[in-house]
């Protein structure tokens, strides 16, 4: 579904990613792990077209999205839940969702469905996003991305700073989407969460995609975690 081939990118002249390749199939969860500063967020931003591609190719169902202007990447069907949520803080819950719905001109049934997944949001439609609790903000960030009916969903550390019940709620939604055939690219630091969710795990080290393994391999090979995560 989503295929990233030997991309190089970074900030201005500072190159971060070097020949990174990965691919996610429909109905699959690929977890991306790596130390702080390894380049995980940079990889997500590059896929979304927010950082210029120095070289390489990014395709979605064969369509070249790597050369599209940033605003057309989302329209091609990639939903993005960024690190730190990045909601439109001064806008209300309803307005944040409306921006999501406008992206691909999703109909009202999409909104209804998304609000069914996150009933707490439907009680707070007219509340400004910045006044939501951390967990509610993460729900809204997720809901906003689901509003575009994504073929591929990219989540950058969605459980950072959340309590267990909230982590559970986000996880349920991710699993549900996978079962519906969405391709999921998940950046996650917590090993237990990755082991429970991932179909495959990719390790990023200093901007280079070092290895892609199965969760079984990760469970048995302690040296792997030591090397790539330092734990």
């Amino acid at each position: 579904m989503l295929r990233v081939e030997a991309i190089n990118s970074g900030y201005g002249n500072a190159q971060v990613l070097r020949d990174v390749s990965l691919d996610v199939a429909a109905g699959e969860i690929l977890c991306l792990m790596g130390r702080n500063g390894a380049g995980k967020t940079t990889a997500m931003k590059t896929i979304m077209g927010l950082l210029p591609l120095m070289s390489g190719r990014i395709t979605l169902d064969g369509q070249d999205v790597g050369r599209l202007p940033a605003h057309e990447v989302a329209r091609a069907g990639i939903g993005y839940i960024p690190q730190g949520r990045r909601l439109f803080t001064e806008l209300t819950v309803a307005q944040n969702l409306e921006i999501g719905l406008m992206t691909r001109k999703s109909g009202p049934h999409v909104r209804t469905r998304v609000l069914e997944l996150f009933p707490r949001l439907s009680e707070r439609l007219n509340q400004r996003a910045e006044t939501l609790s951390g967990g509610e903000q993460q729900m809204l960030a997720t809901a906003r991305a689901l509003c575009i009916e994504p073929k591929v969903l990219i989540l950058d550390e969605p459980t950072e700073g959340l309590q267990p019940s909230m982590i559970e709620a986000i996880r349920d939604v991710v699993v549900r989407l996978r079962n519906e055939g969405v391709a999921i690219l998940l950046v996650e630091q917590r090993v237990d969460a990755v082991l429970a969710l991932a179909d495959r795990v990719a390790f990023l080290e200093n901007g280079i995609l070092a290895e892609t393994v199965t969760p079984e391999r990760m469970r048995t090979d302690a040296a792997l975690l030591k090397r790539y995560l330092g734990v």
Partner: protein, 301 residues
């Protein structure tokens, strides 16, 4: 009373001009030094439209009211796409670029329109005597003192400005394009990640900002005159208003325009225009020292 009315006219036009500057700064983070020139262009185009169309002054004026802001807005949008976009909206370079734009517009106007100041006839202009209340022999009495009068046109300017400002407010808070502009303002990258063509939004905002300045100028040109250097004062006052009102805050900008416009009118009538400018500048300095986010600003710029 008379001074307050003069002040209200100044405030009305100033509010339109400043709201344009504020919108551009708020959404794009661009300090548009050429804003006063878009104002001047509005006045000059109003003059050319009004003079080339014969007939009743109202026809020419009505045409100018539509044509001048649209032409100026399109010019500004074109300038945005050809110049500001090229330099990536880098804050320092946009200042330099808009200074360049200021001189280009000014000199081209000088070469084509010339150095004269030219008037535009108001579409209607009745003298209206104003009543005054005074404690007389039979108690409170209403009378019309000699010389206390305004023109219907000046009242119309105030009314038109209020209508346009309400329109801008409705656009920003109630419409889809307003929602898109605010999302772009709040987080440019996330706006793009949700399909918003940020560059097109910028061009539209820059055009609307310049168009509002031009509209203010069309309204003022029957009272003052169209002149190629007329952009300097509104630019300065708009900056003062935007700083006092809080960068990017629309209600703050309107209130500050009222404050500055009214005090400018009143002080200019009773003392001197120079004193009014000095006081306004002093106010800016005080605001910058004690409340850098502006009187009504919500966050640091």
């Amino acid at each position: 009373m008379l001074a307050a009315l003069e002040g209200a006219v100044t405030a009305a036009v100033l509010a339109l001009t400043a709201i344009g500057l504020s919108l551009v700064f708020g959404v794009m983070r661009v300090v548009n030094v050429a804003h006063g020139e878009f104002y001047m262009l509005g006045a000059v185009i109003a003059w050319s439209v009004a003079t080339s169309l014969g007939g009743h002054p109202a026809i020419g004026f009505a045409a100018a009211l539509v044509i001048a802001p649209v032409v100026v807005g399109l010019l500004a949008a074109a300038a945005d796409m050809t110049i500001l976009k090229r330099i990536n909206y880098d804050p320092e370079r946009t200042i330099v670029a808009t200074i360049g734009l200021l001189y280009i517009i000014q000199q081209v106007t000088l070469m084509t329109y010339g150095p004269e100041a030219r008037p535009v006839e108001p579409p209607f202009n009745h003298r209206l005597a104003l009543p005054w209340v005074e404690w007389g022999e039979q108690g409170l009495a209403l009378y019309w003192p000699w010389g206390l009068s305004t023109t219907s046109y000046k009242l119309a300017v105030i009314g038109a400005a209020i209508v346009v400002l309400l329109g801008v407010w409705v656009m920003m808070t109630r419409t889809k394009i307003g929602l898109i502009m605010r999302a772009t303002q709040l987080d440019r990258d996330m706006a793009q990640a949700f399909g918003i063509p940020v560059e097109r939004v910028y061009a539209i905002v820059f055009g609307i900002g310049a168009g509002l300045a031009a509209l203010g100028a069309v309204l003022i040109v029957p009272i003052q005159q169209a002149y190629y250097l007329m952009g300097a004062d509104p630019l300065l006052l708009s900056f003062i208003v935007v700083i006092i009102g809080g960068l990017g805050s629309l209600p703050g900008t309107v209130l500050a325009a009222l404050l500055i416009g009214m005090s400018d009118g009143i002080i200019s009538v009773f003392f001197s225009p120079t004193l009014a400018k000095i006081l306004a500048t002093l106010l800016v300095a005080l605001v910058l020292v004690f409340r850098p986010q502006g009187l009504f600003g919500t966050r640091a710029a």
